[in-house]
Amino acid sequence: MDTVMEVTVYGSGASDAAEEAERAIRRLEELWSVTREDSEISRLNRGETVELSEETANLLQKGLRLSEETGGALNLALYPLTRLWGFTTEEYRVPSREEIDALLDRLRSGSLSLEDNRASLSSWELDFGAVAKGYAAQLSADMLKERGVTSALLTLGGNVQTVGNKEDGSLWRIGVRDPWGEEGDYLGVLLVGEAAVVTSGAYQRYFEEDGVRYGHILDPETGRPVESGLASVTIVAEDGFLADGLSTALYVMGLEEATEFFRGRDDFEAVLVDDAGTIYVTEGLRDSFECSQFQVIER
């Protein structure tokens, strides 16, 4: 999570609360960083049996559950594949089919044992990248609420999480990034109250080789960068963990499967953009998405 973080808390005692929230996020970042050798997750990945902190154990359990609910579209054990493609070191390369297949075999045969908070892995290496920011933002938003904060805005990388409405009672205006634009270019603006808003898309990190673009979100089925026909998926949900995990999962699924998945649930809304630039917005956001033109996905 080497990401830019911004915590803005409104009301009295705001700066103390904001600092505390930033510290909390940094601490979680250390627990879940795959690049820190002494993090809980790095120790797990080295094959150690680790007594997990409460937060890590919760994240792991929630992650496994969501992975199951999304039919495996969210997968937290893709770290070896991410490394194979060079996304961990930025020394990118397109691996051979044999290399990918070998790691997919490892992925399918691997497992996690989690009893109480003691965890160990067999064959797997975990990467919480798809959910860590969302869960960290959620936990710090919860912490702010416990302190009595009624209005706050947290941004962590591309994740946005709010507490309450804006100080004047109005809704927050959250820009949804244009996948083909520069930073600061928006497709539209979402009006939200207390919510988490998270976007996933290959435009966030990719490399090009021989004119082909390879994005950082990998398909657990193929072991290759997702080619689902979607350019980005933005999720609006009450829970930051869910919004983060689902933005990746629905991006992996593609429009059709994502639409079906949406119809089976009632805990999130979404803005999907396909490769042709068509914007699809789920029913619940029909009146809260400011944008020139979009199609509505009915529930």
Binding site: G158, R173, I174, G175, R177, E182, E183, G184, Y186, V189
Partner: protein, 119 residues
């Protein structure tokens, strides 16, 4: 009577002066032709783009030297490895100039309608 007229004129003059002062003060930093400079998430200053100037923003991540000239703002030089902020050149509107390594953001009033944006 002369005295009353005198007072009325004086008050009118004062009123005119304060209106002028208010216009000047409010224009500075709130109208078009401004840019907000943020370092590590905190607003450092709002710059009037019509006033040429050079200043330095130091943050824990590194240093950016910022130049305002001919109605536009640019990062003249930076200690960051990627130099994306410098390559962006001079801007006066549109997408913010961002130096991710040094956590410096220069944004223009157009973005003021948005509280935050997703990645």
């Amino acid at each position: 009577m002369i005295k009353t007229k005198y007072w009325i004129s004086l008050f009118l003059l004062l009123l005119a002066l304060s209106a002028l002062a208010a216009t000047l003060l409010l224009r500075d930093g709130h109208g078009n032709g401004t840019a907000a400079v943020l370092s590590e998430g905190e607003e450092v200053c709002t710059v009037d783009l019509s006033r040429d100037q050079t200043f330095t923003v130091k943050a824990s991540g590194g240093v950016n030297i910022i130049v305002v000239e001919d109605g536009a703002i640019r990062v003249e030089s930076a200690t960051c490895p990627d130099q994306i902020c410098v390559q962006r050149g001079a801007c006066s509107e549109g997408a913010p100039i961002v130096c991710l390594p040094n956590r410096l953001v220069i944004q223009f009033p157009e973005n003021a309608g948005i509280d935050a944006s997703t990645g």
